[in-house]
Symmetry: D2
């Protein structure tokens, strides 16, 4: 039995398309599951080697279901990330015309990406209803329950539909970021264009508390790529923060910043270090003066010599 | 015609219950609308005096639909906030027993608050389907489409249902925060226990950029209550931040911090200053030494005297 | 009786030379006095309009006698500063040769500036004795008490000496900074290349206390030119700080920084804003984005509009 | 030949008294030399095992001659510090009365400590002249050159003088801090109440540059005890900073702060870690939460486990 990847199904969604861009997916059994929680549970209980789920998109922001699943429960780790540009097609049963459309469906996450297009192109009295997924919406159109569905163009063939329109996207640069999540393991070797994800819980809450946490990164020249607050479940106003930082945990500046956080935070959960999907090593700026590995090593060596009286 | 408040409907939801806790709601026409966007649009186009919508809950965090509507479009302003403790009742048609339940529905936001209870108390094969609102879920149970709905206990009478169970809440202290939103106006007078909401867009993105923004609050002793990133729509990784700070815009420390943000940020959108629903003036700590209005005034007076040579 | 300036005498020192570079000195009676304390006391008790004293030199650093007199006692204010390049001449009675020199004198402050030259050029057995001033050293050579004196070349004529060597300076760029000090008055109008001097006393002493003080300047983009600790007289380890900051107290960023200091410090003593002697407006970099007067005014205006509900 | 300590002479000064409080001085030859520079040169060229010199006093602040000698030249290291309370006696030849005194002498450093006493107790026409040291002043009184000298009471016997008055001190808590300086060696083991001295040179000079340097200490909870600017000799306004920090270089928080400085500064010179003379381990507050050695070790261990995939 091949190792398997669980992914947020059903088949025919953007998630599957993104997953198939990973070379390693070709050698795994790809298993669609009904929810992000189910995908991550499959990893936690050993049914799947890894799970592939959306974690952030450029219209809706952090995918809270995924963040919350990573924040709580047994530790998991992000192995890889994938970026996919998202544009929608309007899928209908063959023969349907724009003016025929009275009901339309898609996953709720699609709505902000197609809202303006709908206003401009569909009859004003059209009714939107949410579907469990974009693929499911397509299926419901096939079954006749709705007149049209917004979904990836690739879903048309699977459900015997045709695309009345393609390339629909209210926002330019609409992208979704997916992650391949597994059990804790040694992180992939650094590539020079890496990202490190952690979740941090503040110890207390005074003026400057959050600034001081971010100072642990700033003082070591580590840039932040994402700061997403998530409720801790302890009542309104109690938040933890999911943070993506530039660099790999084996970069000295990142390692020392994480140590700093670990010391001053109530808790830090490491979520992995992995190659950036949005950049290669050529795109990554040189670390700020004083924060390269070489400079860290030289400074540590100097302190050691001082401690030994050899200076 | 009375002035009207548009609220996220339908009738019989937690939103309506929260709205009715505001004394001024008694003298307004309360108009349920289908979405947060519709509620805020009603204010923007003059159909409603104000809109009442959820903005944050202790399980799901910031309500992104509301935040995104406040962030974009014509400026709006938060006049008031209301906190409501959220517990669910399981509503069924009279005579239904727990063991009869094969399908259950509610708004998706209810799911994380009832998930554990469902696992422990409902048959394992029970199917969850999302409803447009909790009240709508109750209506669908009344119509026979589902066996049970999670909703506020107050919805039972309206839909001829009975509550098999009440007080369902996976998380202790589950609360939702609602805001009354209107067109820009002079903020309510400070009460001593106030909150100020803004949205900020960073000018650039270097190590420490976000720390420096937060430093504008910290250096003036202003505590933060919420920091919620929202995508700007300019692509993955481009975020603005919705910030709730302790204090009122007429507090000198808050006013100066906002000025500081305005100067260093690409943009700052003021969303209002209003009484805190979670605290009264007795609960609010004395400002940190050096940050009271009296100290600001004395320091400004001293600088003026120095500028005049009278020191 | 003309208004008078008291200056650190005697006549014929670098101080007098520096003072005469000020155009206003031509219309005042210039009165040499025996010490910095005497000069400043003459101002405090109304005998002199202003005092002219050294405050900093590039070899010895801050002139502690001057700093301490400004820090304590009735408030005084710096009106102007003058920079003078310092090189020494070796003055001898006519006929004396280098190899004749067995004793040499000067003010102790001259020693670090001529030490290396002495080693290289004078007999090794030469004896150094301190004089009350460089001019007084010259006088003592004239009287035959010492063989040679280090002093300004301009002192030779006054004391009937000749310069065996001129341009003596161990350190390149040796300069002394002098200040014209008077009673509190409206500071000179800003020139665009100004400096503001204050003395600050910390309220307490915790990790980060001094960093936070400096943060009041940094967060508003105000650069520091001098930070000189001076003991408070309350025992070892108790210091206040004399600070020179770029800019004028009527610059908004400087005024707000001073207000911030005033609020968080135990005490702040304003010592004046005055034109920089080391730079003209062409040399001064544009304020960091967000810290110009225009941006301060625009931000204050924005906050005022928010407070009024006009945004 | 016994190992020797060079100290700032002559015999009979406060320096010798302070030196003799060190137990190890009993087993060394104590050699008075004419200047701080001579004392430190004796160490550098191997003539003395160590030098004992004043470095800071509560009236005058940092002793610039000592600081400048430590800042430049071959590296040296502070082994120990001694605090001595300083009060003066007025020494006269037997038979002299207060009203007889027309001339008085002492080292210039004594002046600010006796000035007010002089005004209150000596004839107004009394003339002050500086001596090379307080002991030398006493010698000159013995020789009849001056009528009285301010010096330590212990100097009376040595020079056949008597103390007309003892316990003279304008400032309460007048103390001088002395250091025993040697060649680089392994620092003394930490005692729990230690101090670490360094000199730092900034790389550049932008708003916030000095704040950022101090941030390296602050972010790791290291308190500063002294920050003394000293000119670099590169012209007015060019300073390095002598810093005394609480803690020992083998304390993790101190070591990491030094590493941070080393990376961002142009240069850092380590001057040693040694027991504090002003405090014992009982006086030292517990390190701020998150900055103890145990927390550093635990955090480093956690990062190592994350790097290994064992979390």
């Amino acid at each position: 039995m091949p190792a398997s990847y669980a992914y947020l199904g059903p088949e025919g969604t953007f998630t599957e398309v993104a997953l198939r861009t990973l070379p390693e997916s070709a050698t795994r059994e790809l298993v669609p599951v009904v929810s992000v929680a189910a995908a991550l549970d499959a990893v936690r209980n050993g049914e799947a080697e890894a799970a592939f789920v959306p974690i952030e998109n450029s219209v809706e922001g952090g995918i809270t279901a995924t963040l919350d699943e990573l924040v709580a429960g047994a530790p998991l780790m992000i192995y890889r990330e994938v970026l996919l540009s998202i544009t929608f097609a309007l899928l209908v049963r063959p023969g349907t015309k724009l003016s025929d459309i009275k009901t339309v469906t898609a996953h709720p996450a699609a709505q902000p990406q197609v809202r303006n297009w709908m206003k401009a192109n569909l009859p004003t009295e059209v009714v939107w209803e949410s579907a469990a997924s974009n693929a499911d919406g397509a299926r419901l159109v096939q079954e006749g329950r709705y007149d049209a569905a917004f979904a990836g163009e690739f879903a048309a063939a699977r459900y015997g539909l045709e695309a009345l329109e393609t390339g629909i996207h209210d926002a330019e640069n609409a992208q979704t970021r997916f992650v391949l999540v597994g059990r804790p393991a040694r992180p992939a070797a650094p590539t020079g264009a890496d990202k490190t994800s952690v979740v941090i819980w503040q110890r207390d809450d005074h003026p400057g508390a959050l600034r001081d946490l971010l100072g642990e990164f700033a003082v070591r020249g580590v840039n932040l790529m994402l700061l997403q607050s998530r409720p801790t479940g302890q009542g309104i106003g109690n938040y933890c923060f999911a943070v993506d930082a530039e660099g790999h945990i084996t970069d000295r500046r990142v390692a020392e910043a994480l140590m700093g956080l670990r010391r001053i935070c109530l808790e830090v959960r490491y979520l992995g270090s992995y190659p950036r999907a949005d950049a290669t090593v050529q795109d990554v700026p040189t670390p700020r003066q004083g924060t390269s590995d070489e400079e860290f090593v030289a400074a540590a060596d100097w302190v050691a010599r001082c401690q030994d009286g050899r200076f």
